[in-house]
Subunit: 189 residues, 2 copies
DNA sequence: CTGAATTCTTGCAGTCACTGCACTAGAGTG
DNA sequence: CACTCTAGTGCAGTGACTGCAAGAATTCAG
């Protein structure tokens, strides 16, 4: 009986995973991402703090895991893309594909989206996007040995950016402060 | 005498700041960003660990501070932009402006660039850029109450992205793994 | 059904980024 | 030479995250 979930073990695991996700999302909404500690989440999910890391590699991943999983999906789709296709086109196809799944999970995704927008991480991503254009130009500049005019390259990068996003992105641009997001990022070896 | 640098105090401060920056960049190149602790940097710069945070808000900022400062510059330029200008155009102008300064600091910037490319933070930014397109579409979707087809919106976002970046970005797209960067990010209230 | 192999969960101790607080030494000022 | 202000520092603490090893539950052999 129960051919859907394999063994007791796996079902249990799935249940815990969901418990963590739910607890975390609830708390993040109530107290904010940074105002919630791992201990809070663990307590709410009724697990030991240490156990959390058997399910998610980091606190952030509870919110982003979906993206992670979907990006995994994207990797597959990308693999199927015609070899000649320009990478951005392949990416677009992949994301579009995944987007369909989004519509099936409207509620939880909107929720996640709201958390992301309320978290300082988002400004970070926005800044990241802007810097990406900058870095693209920089990369060209480096590859070029610094011969071509950087301002020219940057101008071109943003030019394309502008023509591209104009129709989609039209709300006021948040003033870049240079602070971006990070509160206390930690990294290791 | 010495009308360039104000008082002894300010000159000292500037010297320390540079010492930190140099020490950090050296160590990051040698041992990698994550393989270098704040203590290492402080020791190399001959300051107390605590003092580091009087100069940079975070470890990351030693590498990114330049962007930070330049973004500050950008804010100014943005303020001067004609009111009617679309935001992206204003941004472009600002970045182009700042880019000129880049060419004057070629060496240190190329160095910084190399560190960034070798650090896991970069994949993160790249992922951020891709997600930015996705989120732009998502925002529209949310604003729209989920009525318009998400795949359609995503498709359009990437379409513009493609047309925009095609001429600039043409190296193979790194396979998204979903892991992105974060080692041990820390945030607080 | 029972004992072994496997897999979790958890606690413990430790690392490291980062913060608030309080103290001290030295620079700027009159 | 006081007097103020501030930057450098030490200390204690928070919180994310890790490796390790013990203990509990699950699956698997026999």
């Amino acid at each position: 009986m129960d051919q859907g979930g394999a063994g007791l073990r796996e079902r249990k695991k799935e249940r815990i995973r969901e418990a963590i996700e739910m607890a975390a999302l609830d708390l993040f909404e109530q107290r904010g991402f940074d105002g919630t500690t791992l201990e809070d989440v663990a307590a709410a999910a009724d697990i030991a703090p240490r156990t959390f890391f058997h399910y998610f590699p980091s606190k952030e991943d509870v919110v982003l895991s979906d993206y992670g999983r979907r990006l995994g999906r994207i990797a597959e789709v990308l693999a199927d893309a015609p070899a000649g296709d320009p990478p951005v086109r392949a990416l677009r196809a992949a994301f579009s594909e995944v987007a369909r799944d989004y519509e099936d999970n409207r509620v939880i995704l909107l929720r996640r989206f709201r958390i992301m927008m309320g978290s300082p991480s988002v400004p970070r991503l926005i800044a990241g996007a802007a810097l990406a254009a900058m870095r693209t130009a920089l990369r060209l500049w480096v590859a070029d040995g610094g011969r071509t005019s950087l301002p020219e390259l940057v101008y071109r990068a943003f030019d394309t950016f502008e023509s591209g996003l104009a129709g989609i992105e039209d709300r006021p641009v948040p003033t870049p402060t240079g602070k971006a997001t990070r509160g206390k990022p930690r990294r290791r070896k």
